[in-house]
Amino acid sequence: MMASSYSAKEEDGHHSGSAGLGGTAIRTRKPDNTAFKQQRLPAWQPILTAGTVLPAFFIIGLIFIPIGIGLFVTSNNIKEFEIDYTGTDMSSPCFNCSQSFSWNSTTPCRCVLFFSLDQPFESNVFMYYGLSNFYQNHRRYVKSRDDSQLNGDERSLKEPSKECEPYRTNENKPIAPCGAIANSMFNDTLDLFYIDPNGTQTQIPFIKKGIAWWTDKHVKFRNPSSSNPNLTAVFIDTAKPVNWRKPVYELDTDPENNGFINEDFIVWMRTAALPTFRKLYRIIQKKNNMTPTLPRGNYSLEVTYNYPVRSFEGRKRMILSTISWMGGKNPFLGIAYITVGSICFFLGVVLLFIHHKYGNRNNSSDIPN
């Protein structure tokens, strides 16, 4: 085979290319002319220009400030009353109770606090208990529960999860409900009395159902063998949590609110995110439109002081509050909205100024990079 050398390289390459591959082969090696493969997919290319960014800031400012004001006003209109009954002060009526506490004392310690409401609470009033410095969000605390036991699983009832240690068994009997959360359930009893100007005390009626989430009450928490109405029999081979005064099946007399589906219990079991928290205790329903739910005047709070918090410098509070569309009193959100809205608006002004003063105004030839 002979070839003049000056074009040999080209020549042979050419031949191996075109002669070796038939027409079809050539076509298959050529990449497809699709928008995807050629990176020509149609696309929207937003760019941050003065025309889009500045209005965005102003609009956010103009929307946020009214929302913030609305939130702030709503929050201010919510009536809230809070009273600390921990009893750390010598002067506090609950001082004695808080000092002389023991888990297994048989006689409950009672104390009474008096307070007055300056304004009537018009609509439904919600009564909360609040705890401070209580680490319901500690990892070992949070995981110390057995959800299948609480869901009524028979096997878990007999054989609670290891996560419940060291509140898993007591005297060789499985604890129901097991775990640290259940064991530390809040068990103060709070009663509220209205003191007429003439001195008579009338107990304010509480509603104790409907304080837990519907899903918790009906799905997440279930008594074992719900077909058997006799809870005492169901829990027969179990021990009560160490700190409890009565077993789980005696939490309430109402069978719909007893055992694991006791709403106080359910509320407690929904662990708080932060070490200072409040939990719904009772609801005071509005009787009629004529009288406020809680008229202004004097009240007394009768506390059955069962729950010790002194050791860890905890605080216990009772909170009465009305609610609105945004829930309870929450000044933070309103202020935050007003602040953010104002900052956005201000930033918009600053940016507008910068853009006008220094900006690259004829950026038609500008390539954003």
Binding site: M1, A3, S4, S5, Y6, S7, A8, K9, E10, G13, G17, S18, R29, K30, P31, D32, A35, Q39, L41, P42, A43, Q45, P46, F57, F64, F126, N133, Y135, N137, V142, S184, W213, W214, V219, K220, R270, L274, P275, R278, L280, I283, P308, S311, F312, S321, I323, W325, M326, G327, N330, L333, Y337, V340, G359, N360, S365, D366, I367, P368, N369
Partner: protein
């Protein structure tokens, strides 16, 4: 072991040779087989730091005291990562198996892999598979022609001659099989031009040198067959020894990423320690008092021990700052980018049906950071085709085409060619456009005839005519081939030669000239002449050579013609053509006889023969009559000057490293516009030992460098000295100050050394591009190696990381694909780190409020799925499809390439910025809900500030914030981006509600304790208000910052395209690709052969095979702007800029 010093090879004796266990030709690159895949692959994967780390985490999670997360949060991503990597490795290995098999079974009578040292093999116009000792060939005297372009880039033919004893073996297979000579030679080494050995055969000793060796990578030319004895095979061949070691290439981003991961790891440990100390203090101050409600088990009484355990717990929950999916995502991106390169139609060369190919999928983003390009010349910049383009005959130029108004017409593919059909012996591939020359021939103008007669007579070409009229020229240099082919088409067909005669067909008439003498070419003379006696008995001397040389030897009467010709030569040179001047002389019989006697005497002289001959040649080559000049185009590949100009604008320095001669290299430098006459000075360093002084002499460059443009040309010998330790710093400094650097006569290994030098001293990203085996070492050494595919040699492509068919695609590879890849990768990494910090550090803040107990903020399932489901696809889509600037812009404004070179888009500072952004985001994400949830209750009075609602609120805010951020980072929203971003949000909510649904809880009550949380919290207005607030606070500052940046510091600076001007320095072609010694070969008749009747119908080739450069074309990427116009320009308003591109013409 004695074989270290010498090597014994006995022919046809495998048993004997096998004792030395020489390397064989078998190639194995595959790593696994079916059975070993799983264990080996897993073992390899766990050797990676990240994977091993996650394995350790997994083990930690199984310890209940420490475990702050369920085991599945780690194992799900880990298994996914391992699986994806394993699939990729398996595919890679499958292809390796296939290619191994293909190479090993390549047929050449015998499979490649079966060639062993000591075998005798027959070659027929093919590449040599091993280093062979030439035994015999089809040509007389055991001659054999080879082309070594693959090895050293030189394009002229080289001659090898077998020993007489072995060439007598001929092609007698029986005799060859009996041949049992033993070769003792040097051990394998990388010297291409040296070989020493001895052949022992029949009790005789024959010395062997490099002239008898056929090296692997060379190509047999003009020789039908030859037999060779395999001396070195496989890795021991000189070619392979020159290849350098294959190193696993990593990009700088890769290295940075590894450093950053280590930093993050350190950061993780620090946070762990801080939180552990916090835990110790908390346990002492608070926890011990909390005993009543939260008892430790027996073993964990001490606060310090609790802190120690907490440290590990936090290492587990904060592990997501070290992103496990990072490496896999990066691999996926790079793979995608590689596919985009493979799929690019604008890098597809239809003439050879060769698409671009990303052979390495891990280097893409580095393509956006290249600062130095090292380019081979032959086959890379040039097509290695010489074309007779123009000529000047007796003061008149031919070759330009004019229209009816007398304007010059640009020659394109469509320009009508001259019809040579009057000539039955024409070469069909020859193209010429100026018909006036043919007319002049037909009019029988004597000087025009003389011009072509000279071209047909004065050369050293061997003709080959197998069938009547099928002429093939064996030219030792492409230039000569082009000239003789031109003469042939214009009716002066060189048809045959004997040692004493040359037969031409002049316009159909056979004319035989007596060849009296060939005054051969050498580098000093820069010309060659022949003395012939024509049929009329006249004695003529025909000479062609460099114009400067020839003009000094002209008859004084030529002054006027010399002046016009000189002008023409300038014109030709200005077009980048290689020029030659032609002259003739009528000789007197007496003078010639006298001279001939002296010549005969001198040629037998024992001393100073060369000089004496030279003086005699000089004596007779005087007083010549000028005929004219030729202009040959050394065809560049299409678009080379434009590409170089564009890449130069992108601040990429292009160095040419070639094995070819200085003159050739310079010529190409000029025609590529790398060297220009307006350059202040071109330093040529070609000393042997005085290099040092010469280098120092160029110190003056340092002072005046900013204003002036310099070029440096250095040859191999000087380079060898300059690369020594004490000079290399100076070399680097000087070379980097010069606009252009050309290294010629460099060996393959030197190419690698130069690349290595720059890599070491400049810390810049280097790219080497080449087509031949001689480029393999530099391709392997450079950060990125590019091979020109579609050529016959595959070595360069096989060693390369990217391959395509044309040099000009480099522009697109770097400016479009590289730039995009870099931008995408940097944006991807920034976002990735941001996202993971924002996600993870929420736990850190929460630690201060949960007693440093390593309680997670989020649902465990959210932690498991966040990185792999909720946020992986949008960022992948951005990393794959994003285009900050479309391809037209990136080609039009090469300045846009700058940020990559300066490493501006992802570096340690950038990393800090984006992690800081992540930290701030996590802070906002935590503390705004914290503030809002302190006293929040639902609108039905029930509590909402419980842990699960808090988790859902923060998680939802997080997903929305990072989605908004990716939206902000995405410049180019394709349908896929939309789908992934909106889809991710949708999937988040879908999974959220599914996991919090009643059904899944009743099946696994312990795994899905979040039942109902989504419903109960996300139906609250307050939760949405918190989410909205958080999102706005996280995103708006970024919007403001970006806006200010874009508004005040636009990164694109206006640039004026520097017009690349044409040069006008005259360069003579003849010296270029020619070698001394052919004259003697012809006159001695050694290479004459009795014409054989063998039939071969190899098509005649001609230089002008329609590869005409599309001159004045715009930069390639913009040629079909019409097609891409539809893709949605960033700004439709500036079509007028489309027009300005047309000005970008590089000439």
């Amino acid at each position: 072991c004695y074989k270290k010093e010498e090597r014994h090879v006995r022919a046809n004796d495998r048993d004997y040779n096998e004792r030395f266990s020489y390397a064989d030709n078998h190639i194995k690159t595959a790593k696994y087989n079916v059975f070993t895949f799983l264990p080996i692959n897993l073992f390899e994967q766990f050797q990676r730091f990240a994977n091993a780390y996650f394995l350790v985490l997994l083990i930690l999670q199984l310890i209940p005291e420490i475990s702050s997360l369920s085991w599945f949060t780690t194992i799900v991503p880990l298994v996914l990562v391992l699986a994806i990597t394993a699939v990729k490795d398996a595919t890679d290995d499958y292809f390796r198996h296939k290619s191994d098999q293909q190479v090993n079974t390549r047929l050449q009578n015998e499979k490649w892999m079966n060639v062993r040292v000591g075998d005798i093999i027959k070659l027929e116009n093919n590449q040599f598979v091993a280093d062979l000792l030439l035994l015999s060939s089809s040509e007389p005297y055991g001659l054999c022609y080879i082309e070594t372009a693959e090895l050293d880039g030189e394009t002229n033919l080289k001659v090898r001659q077998a020993l007489t004893v072995t060439s007598d073996l001929g092609d007698d297979v029986a005799k060859l099989a009996d041949f049992n000579g033993e070769v003792i030679c040097e051990p394998p080494n990388n010297k291409l031009d040296k070989f020493t050995g001895t052949l022992f055969w029949k009790d005789n000793k024959y010395p062997l040198d490099n002239e008898k060796m056929l090296l692997r990578g060379c190509v047999l030319r003009n020789t039908e067959w030859c037999f060779g004895l395999v001396i070195f095979a496989g890795l021991q061949t000189k070619l392979m020894q020159n290849c350098g070691r294959t190193k696993f290439k990593r990009t700088s981003i890769d290295k940075l990423m590894n450093t950053l991961v280590l930093w993050i790891f350190g950061f993780l440990i620090c946070m762990g320690i801080i939180l552990a100390i916090g835990n110790t203090i908390w346990e002492q101050k608070v926890g011990s008092n909390f005993w009543e409600y939260l008892q430790w088990k027996e073993l964990t009484i001490s606060a310090v021990f609790s802190g120690f355990l907490t440290f590990w717990s936090y290492v587990i929950i904060l592990n997501t700052v070290v992103p496990i999916s990072l490496y896999v995502s990066v691999e996926v991106l790079r793979l995608g980018h590689s596919y985009f390169i493979n799929w690019d139609r604008r890098m597809y060369y239809s003439r050879k049906a060769t698409p671009a190919e990303a052979r390495t999928t891990t280097l893409n983003e580095e393509l956006g950071q290249v600062e130095f390009i090292f380019s081979d010349k032959t086959g890379t910049l040039t097509q290695n085709i010489m074309v007779f383009n123009k000529c000047s005959i007796n003061g008149k130029t031919y070759g330009d085409v004019y229209d009816e108004f007398g304007h010059k017409v640009d020659i394109t593919e469509k320009t009508p060619c001259v019809d040579f059909s009057f000539n039955p012996l024409m070469d069909r591939k020859f193209r010429f456009h100026d018909s006036s020359l043919v007319e002049a021939i037909k009019l029988e103008e004597p000087l025009v005839q003389e011009f072509f007669r000279l071209l047909a007579l004065c050369h050293t070409i061997m003709p080959e005519e197998r069938n009547e009229g099928e002429l093939v020229y064996q030219a030792q240099s492409p230039d000569e081939g082009a000239l003789v082919t031109a003469a042939r088409n214009f009716g002066f067909v060189f048809r045959s030669r004997t040692p004493e005669t040359i037969t031409l067909y002049e316009m159909g008439q056979a004319v035989t000239y007596q060849l009296l003498a060939i005054l051969d070419f050498n580098n000093v003379r820069k010309r060659m002449s022949v003395i012939v006696r024509n049929p009329k008995g006249q004695l003529k001397l025909y000479s062609k050579g460099a114009d400067t040389i020839l003009f000094d030897r002209l008859d004084p009467s030529n002054e006027e013609l010399m002046f016009t010709t000189s002008e023409h030569l300038n014109e030709f040179a200005g077009e980048g053509l290689r020029t030659l001047a032609l002259a003739y002389k009528d000789l007197d019989e007496d003078v010639f006889d006298e001279w001939m006697k002296k010549l005969l005497f001198a040629s037998t002289a024992l001393e100073n023969r060369e000089e004496k001959l030279g003086a005699l040649y000089e004596e007779i080559e005087q007083g010549m009559m000028l005929l004219g000049a030729t202009a040959i185009e050394d065809k560049l590949q299409e678009g080379v000057p434009e590409t170089i100009a564009c890449l130069t604008l992108a601040n990429i320095k292009i160095w040419v490293l070639t094995g070819d001669k200085l003159e050739t290299a310079m010529n190409i430098g000029y025609s590529c516009n790398m060297l220009r006459d307006d350059m202040n000075e071109v330093f040529i360093i070609s000393g042997h030992t005085m290099v040092e002084t010469e280098l120092y002499s160029s110190d003056s460059v340092f002072e005046e460098t900013i204003i002036a443009e310099y070029a440096l040309i250095i040859n191999g010998h000087s380079l060898a000295h300059a690369l020594e330790a004490d000079l290399e710093q100076i070399l680097v400094d000087v070379a980097c100050l010069c606009k252009t650097v050309i290294c010629c006569r460099v060996t393959p290994l030197q190419k690698a050394l130069v690349v290595e030098l720059i890599k070491r001293h400049k810390r810049a990203v280097t790219l080497a591009i080449g087509d031949g085996a001689n480029d393999v070492s530099m391709i392997k050494t450079a950060h990125i190696g590019v091979g020109i595919s579609g050529q016959e040699g595959m070595q360069a492509v096989l060693a390369s990381d990217y391959s395509f068919a044309q040099f000009r695609y480099l522009q697109r590879l770097l400016l479009v694909h590289g730039r995009w890849s870099y931008h995408r990768m940097c944006n991807f990494l920034c976002y990735f780190f941001y996202k993971n910090f924002a996600f993870t550090l929420v736990h850190f803040w929460y630690g201060f409020l949960c007693g440093f107990s390593a309680q997670t903020v989020y649902d465990q399932w959210f932690i498991t799925l966040f990185n792999i489901v909720y946020t992986s696809l949008p960022v992948l889509a951005m990393g794959l499809f994003d285009q900050d600037v479309n391809e037209q812009y990136s080609l039009r404004y090469p300045n846009l390439y700058r940020p990559g070179q300066l490493n501006q888009l992802f570096n340690k500072r950038k990393f800090f910025t984006c992690t800081l952004q992540g930290v701030c985001t996590s802070f906002i994400l935590f503390f705004i809900p914290y503030g809002a949830f302190m006293s929040a209750v639902r609108d039905d009075g029930a509590h909402i500030s419980d842990q699960q609602a808090f988790a859902v609120t923060i998680a939802t805010s997080l997903v929305i914030v990072v989605s908004a951020q990716i939206g902000l980072d995405t410049n180019y929203w394709t349908a896929v981006n939309h789908f992934f971003i909106w889809g991710s949000l949708a999937v988040y909510f879908a999974i959220l509600f599914a996991m919090h649904s009643d059904g899944i809880f009743t099946i696994f009550p312990n795994q899905f304790p979040f039942i109902g949380t989504a419903r109960n919290s996300l139906n609250q207005k307050i939760v949405w208000l918190v989410i909205l607030l958080t999102t706005v606070v996280c995103i708006m500052p970024m919007v403001a910052v970006r806006f200010i940046k874009a508004d005040l510091y636009p990164t694109h600076t206006d640039k004026n395209f520097r017009r690349v001007r044409r040069t006008s320095s005259r360069r003579s072609a003849y010296a270029f690709a020619h070698q001394q010694g052919y004259g003697e070969l012809i006159t001695s008749g050694k290479n004459m052969k009795i014409p054989t009747a063998s039939t071969s119908t190899y098509p005649l080739s001609s230089p002008a095979r329609g590869n005409s450069v599309v001159k004045n074309s715009v930069v390639s990427g913009t040629t079909d702007a019409a097609e891409t116009n539809s893709t949605g320009f960033r700004r439709e308003s500036d079509q007028n800029q489309e027009v300005t591109v047309e000005d970008l013409e590089a000439r």
